[in-house]
């Protein structure tokens, strides 16, 4: 890994601020006057000479098409910190030099941050390779860092390699994953200034190697050994923390990972060390610089607002798996438990933090148990990284876009495009204007062809434009450099430019080829190559790299369009983005007309083809053929014919056949996905509640099962029966509570929300009950809706699932039926059943049975007395017997029924208990897991309640009859 330090003041680094200027030979004067102007500025105080050099260079602005080059000033200043000041002075309009009049100057590339500037100028890419020639560097004797070798080199002697061929290799990066455990006080989330760190588990892996280099757990007090891991026991916390700090320095990891280390583990350790006055602790980086912390906020359209802690650790990348998942995956829950279940298929024992102190205060065996738990939390992030190939994908993305890897998890999309744009611009001697952000301009988005809603039992072919927006930009040469300004057309011949459907003008590629099309061509070419290589490659690790690469390339190509449309961006250009979408809209319409005209009875086909739906870059065509094969063939033919009508490289491809196909609405459909004639690949659902996170899992599961029954088994009748059964289960309290849990993210505190929201109100209430376990900002809050009185607002009825389970609180069946199940179910079943769907599904005979649960939490519960009812006929009994005088003749039968049920519960309980013991990897210890993302946990708690109730009933029988 290359650690680049930028020594200030020696002038080895370049800082270019370029201004447009028409005069010549004014450099020296300009330099002197600019230096004078800077004298009074605060930022310039520590510099004797601020402006090092001013030179004139022949360049071109990249915005608008123009012929020939013009002279620009290139200003080199002593430190990157001076750049914004210089920019302000020049743009404010108060600056004058020599005899030239005072005027406002436009600056170019003055808003580019130093790291990007440096990397662009040297051609260095993130995670790339460099080489230094002998004689061009000096080995430093008095080292200023902990690196083994330290060299000084002039920036222009750095040889950087493009990540191709042999330079595609990934170095043996050392990755350290760690997790800490803290001894929290009862009911309070651990606070660094009060609560001890009791264990730190560390696992190190070399990237690409299957085995771990070491597993070591630092523990406080004696802890029994764990096979395969080293346990280091300490009497004093300070000693442990000091040793951990040296572990980081000695093992010298390139990458630090873990789960939520950026916002929890690292800040906690830092604050704890500060509280214990450990002066030697905060030196975790590769230089001798002290490690410091700060708060950062990051806001972007794609990722929303996030508040983060940021710890500066020179030379180490902090690669927090939680942050990666936040960015890349849309999940119901981001807890390590649910994530590891989802991606690794493994439930994880979850020890509540109030229980941790208990285990720590026990003996060496309970501490061993904690150490196993802690160690697992350190291993899981590594396994997740490996499984999701995060690291490889991010490395490839860094190489493709040229930004440092850390930017990918901390910054937005724009910086990636800027880096590429600057690199290309440099080759062509173009300059990027430092534009002021202008207000939001709206332009029409993509188009959809109105869907013809129905359940299609014939195959439907889907044709889509591959990389639609990039290919439009390439085909029509849409770019900043080809854009014609209002008056520019007069100088050109009409055949030299085009008019886009949105009414903008661009020159054609033979006049000047745009930068963006060139970038896109290279990206797509590289992607094709990566995909071809991927097919040839045998080695699984290299295969992963290539797959990561082609994905990164695809994403980069797509983000170029977004960059031109980002109204709050570095260089927004509505003319480009508006033209792109306008072309897209026009093309979808053309495809529809063409296909319907060509594939018709008039032209010798058996049926008239119908385009039943189209969205952005795809159209669904119903050819009215019976088999998948015919549909595929016609689809391929249509794609070929249409492609011939569009300019290169726009390409319509046959993508898949849906058979059958349930088209519910815009962006809502489901179908069986075929790419070959005889076997379907998968069931594909879009916009249907199987994935939405603000629904309970019951909805997702129910919809999923129904779709399977409808699409795969082709038995809608069975699907209807299944829905009825589930609704009946819901009414009789037979549905697992874990299926009813809804989660919402707590993004703002109570005061910030204008309307009261269920999860926010609940979070407040939970805080009153137990501040320690209550959700905090940024957490996803799980809740269920409980039965309330008439007219009670929904937000008052949200309750913590565990609390509901423990107190046997009745859930609001009506809410789940009307607010959760009704709409998604009717959407699916209306195309199939028509108007009677609602009546049949929600009001049939199956809704006549229900169970009313007796809560333990209501205000009257403590006063109420239960009268037993007959097990046979439910009539009220005077005493405690099991059945009434009328049902006594059936007593044997009823008893056996109850005993049978008791046995079922017992068996269920044993199975669940064993499963939990297996999960905690210890078969002779009590289960203490309270993992709220685990369905088993809820089931286990519920079955205990059921068992108690059944045993009581059996007791009543035994009282009544002496067998």
């Amino acid at each position: 890994m290359l650690v680049i330090r930028a020594p200030f003041g020696v002038g080895t680094h370049v800082l270019i601020t370029v201004i447009k200027y028409t005069g010549i030979f004014a450099c020296e004067e300009f330099k002197q006057d600019l230096n004078k102007a800077l004298k009074s500025e605060n930022t310039a105080k520590n510099f004797t000479l601020c402006v090092l050099d001013v030179a004139i260079e022949e360049k071109q602005s990249m915005y608008f098409y123009s012929k020939g080059k013009r002279p620009f000033f290139r200003i080199t200043v002593a430190s990157p910190r001076l750049v914004p000041t210089v920019r302000r002075i020049l743009e404010e309009g108060d600056f004058k030099f020599g005899d030239y009049p005072q005027k406002q100057y436009s600056t170019y590339e003055s808003n580019i941050e130093f790291v990007v500037r440096f990397m662009v100028d040297t051609g260095l890419v993130g995670c790339g390779w460099v080489s230094l020639k002998g004689g061009e560097y000096e080995v430093r004797r008095d080292r200023s860092s902990r690196c083994q070798i330290e060299l000084d080199v002039k920036y222009n002697n750095l040889v950087c390699f493009a990540p191709e061929e042999e330079w595609q290799a990934i170095g043996p990066l050392r990755i350290l994953s760690f997790d800490i455990e803290c001894a929290a006080r009862k009911g309070i989330f651990p606070e660094a200034d009060k609560d001890r760190v009791i264990q730190i588990a560390n696992v190190m892996q070399i990237q690409g190697q299957p085995d771990y280099l070491f597993k070591v757990v630092f523990t406080l007090k004696e802890t029994a050994s764990i096979p395969g891991a080293e346990i280091l026991c300490y009497e004093h916390e300070s000693e442990m923390l000091k040793d951990w700090s040296s572990l980081i320095r000695e093992t010298d990891p390139d990458i630090l990972t873990g789960y939520n280390i950026i916002n929890f583990d690292i800040p906690y350790l830092m604050n704890r060390a500060a509280a214990l006055n450990l002066i030697s602790f905060p030196y975790l980086g590769r230089t001798h610089e002290k490690t410091t912390m700060s708060n950062t906020t990051f806001q972007s359209k794609a990722y929303g607002k996030r508040e983060n802690k940021s710890t500066k650790m020179a030379g180490r990348v902090q690669f927090d798996v939680l942050q990666i998942l936040f960015r890349d995956q849309k999940l119901r829950s981001y807890s390590l438990n649910s994530v590891s279940y989802l991606f690794l298929g493994q439930q994880k024992e979850d020890v509540h933090h109030s229980k941790i102190t208990e285990l720590q205060e026990g003996d060496k065996l309970t501490r061993r148990r904690l150490a196993i738990y802690c160690l697992r939390d350190a291993v899981l992030p590594l396994r997740l990284l490996d499984k999701l190939m995060c690291l490889i994908n991010y490395i490839e993305m860094a190489r493709v876009t040229g930004v440092p890897i850390s930017y990918l998890s901390t910054r937005g999309q724009q910086i990636k495009v800027i880096s590429q744009l600057l690199r290309k611009a440099r080759e062509q001697e173009l300059l990027m204007p430092a534009r002021k952000i202008h207000g939001e301009e709206e332009y029409a988005g993509a188009t959809v062809i109105e869907p013809r809603r129905a359940f299609y039992k014939d195959p439907v072919s889907v044709l889509d434009f591959s990389s639609l927006y990039p290919s439009i930009m390439m085909a029509h040469n849409l770019c900043y450099t080809s854009l014609l300004g209002p008056g520019d057309r007069s100088e050109l011949q009409p055949e030299q430019y085009i008019r886009t459907p949105s009414g903008n003008y661009f020159v054609k590629a033979d006049v000047r080829k745009g930068l963006l099309p060139v970038i896109l061509e290279e990206l797509l070419k590289a992607r094709r190559k990566a995909k071809a290589d991927l097919k040839m490659e045998q080695d699984p690790f290299k295969k992963k790299v290539l797959d990561g690469r082609q994905l990164a390339l695809k994403m980069s190509a797509n983000s170029v369009y977004g960059f031109t449309g980002a109204s709050i961006g570095k260089l927004p250009c509505i003319e480009i983005s508006g033209s792109v979408t306008a072309y897209g809209r026009e093309m979808i319409g053309q495809v529809k007309d063409y296909v319907e005209e060509k594939f018709s009875i008039v032209n010798g086909y058996a049926h008239n083809a119908d385009v039943i739906y189209g969205d952005t870059d795809s159209v669904m065509v119903l050819f009215h053929v019976a088999t998948v094969k015919e549909s595929i063939d016609l689809g391929k033919k249509a794609a070929e014919l249409v492609t011939a009508n569009f300019p290169h490289p726009i390409k319509l491809e046959f993508e898949k056949v849906y058979f059958p196909y349930l088209l519910i609405n815009k962006k809502r459909y489901a179908g069986l996905y075929y790419t070959q004639p005889d076997k379907y690949d998968k069931m594909d659902c879009k916009g249907i509640e199987t994935v939405r996170r603000d629904n309970c899992t019951l909805v997702a599961n129910l919809i999923n099962t129904c779709l399977k029954k409808i699409l795969i088994e082709r038995d809608p009748g069975d699907a209807i029966e299944y829905v009825k059964r589930t609704i009946s289960d819901l009414m009789c309290n037979r549905v697992d509570i874990s299926q009813l849990v809804i989660t919402k993210e707590l993004t703002k505190s109570d005061k910030d929300y204008s309307a009261r929201q269920a999860h926010v109100v609940l979070a407040g209430r939970m805080k009153e009950r137990d501040a320690g376990s209550a959700p905090s900002l940024g957490d996803r809050v799980p809740y269920v809706i409980i039965a309330g009185t008439k007219k009670q607002a929904a937000y008052e009825k949200a309750e913590d699932p565990i609390y509901v389970l423990e107190n046997n609180i009745p859930i609001d069946v009506k809410y789940y039926l009307e607010q959760q199940l009704s709409k998604p179910l009717l959407r699916i079943f209306e195309p199939i059943m028509g108007d009677k769907a609602e009546r049949e599904l929600f009001h049939g005979d199956h809704t006549l049975s229900r169970t009313i649960v007796s809560s333990k939490a209501g205000g009257l519960t403590m006063f109420a007395k239960r009268s037993e009812t007959c097990i046979g006929c439910k009539s009220v009994l005077k005493g405690n017997e099991a059945v009434c005088s009328h049902c006594i003749e059936r007593i044997s039968e009823l008893y056996q029924r109850e005993v049978e049920q008791l046995r079922n519960f017992e068996e269920k309980f044993s199975r669940l208990w064993t499963q939990c013991q297996t999960c905690q990897e210890s078969l002779h210890e009590e289960v203490i897991c309270t993992n709220r993302d685990c369905t088993i946990f809820y089931m286990r708690t519920k079955v205990i309640k059921d068992l108690e109730e059944k045993s009581r009933i059996i007791g009543r029988f035994e009282q009544q009859v002496d067998w």
Partner: protein, 267 residues
């Protein structure tokens, strides 16, 4: 076989209307002594206890104890089809999964029959045992209804104080506060208009007005209402239905920890 005929059919209508806001699905227990119903509201804050003696019906036949699972909403819908002076017969047989409601006009010219599907409701049978109360207030039922309605304009709960001087209802909210005091008045011309307080011990309790307003829908059933209080115990709001039975509502007191907290389920 179960059959019960009530001459004054409009009574059924009134009863259902007064309980349907509190209990939705409930088992109606029919036995030799009459028809009764006990049910809690779903948040377990209020309880309804209804009993109608078998003498109230003519004829009344109940071969064995049975329990009829019915939804109050559907019951209310069906009963709305009867005219006020109709007699109502409720009839079901053991094997049937329906219960029939037969409405007969007073001149026997029109007979309508509605069958309602029985529900299978699995619930615990809960009741509040009788106890000694600290204070019992008897007052005109429409007066009580009025007080609850007026105070609910101001706040969500009412504080009720019974002393030897009288009974005081207080409520406050964001727009202001209200206080209504009643003095014992045993000299009123009409016996139904008197306010009568039996006091063993002074009490001060707070209740959710939302529920009291549900209860006072029973006002048309009886001219008088009996309120029984005991410190830290549920309030009883009782309506005597002529001499044929009673309708009692129980309401858990609100625990005063925070004035602004409006949740009815104490945590």
């Amino acid at each position: 076989m179960f059959e019960a005929r009530l001459l004054n059919g409009s009574l059924w209508k009134k009863i259902i209307e007064s309980i349907k806001d509190v209990v939705e699905d409930a088992n109606w227990e029919c036995s030799g002594s009459g028809i009764s119903l006990q049910g809690m509201d779903s948040s377990h804050v209020a309880l309804v206890s209804l009993h109608l003696k078998s003498d109230a019906f003519d004829p009344y036949r109940c071969d064995r104890n049975i329990s009829l699972g019915l939804s109050s909403t559907n019951l209310s819908k069906i009963l709305k089809c009867s005219s006020n002076d109709d007699s109502v017969i409720i009839r079901t047989s053991e094997a049937s999964d329906n219960v029939s409601f037969i409405f007969e006009s007073s001149n026997s010219e029109k007979v309508s029959q509605f069958d309602l599907k029985l529900m299978n409701i699995d619930s615990e049978h809960l009741g509040i045992p009788d106890m000694e109360y600290d204070s019992i207030v008897k007052m005109p039922s429409n007066e009580f209804q009025r007080i609850c309605r007026d105070l609910s304009l101001l706040g969500e709960s009412v504080q009720i104080a019974c002393t030897k001087d009288g009974v005081q209802f207080t409520s406050s909210g964001s727009i202001g506060s209200g206080k209504i005091s009643l003095r014992p008045n045993i000299t009123a011309e009409n016996l139904d208009d008197t306010v009568n307080i039996e006091l063993n011990e002074a009490v001060l309790l707070t209740f959710a007005l939302r529920y009291l307003n549900f209860f006072t829908k029973a006002t048309s059933l009886a001219p008088r209402v009996i309120l029984s209080f005991k410190t830290e115990h549920p309030l009883v709001v009782e309506y005597q239905i002529q001499d044929i039975g009673y309708l009692k509502f129980y309401l858990a007191p609100k625990i005063e920890d925070d004035d602004t907290k409006q949740t009815t389920t104490p945590d």
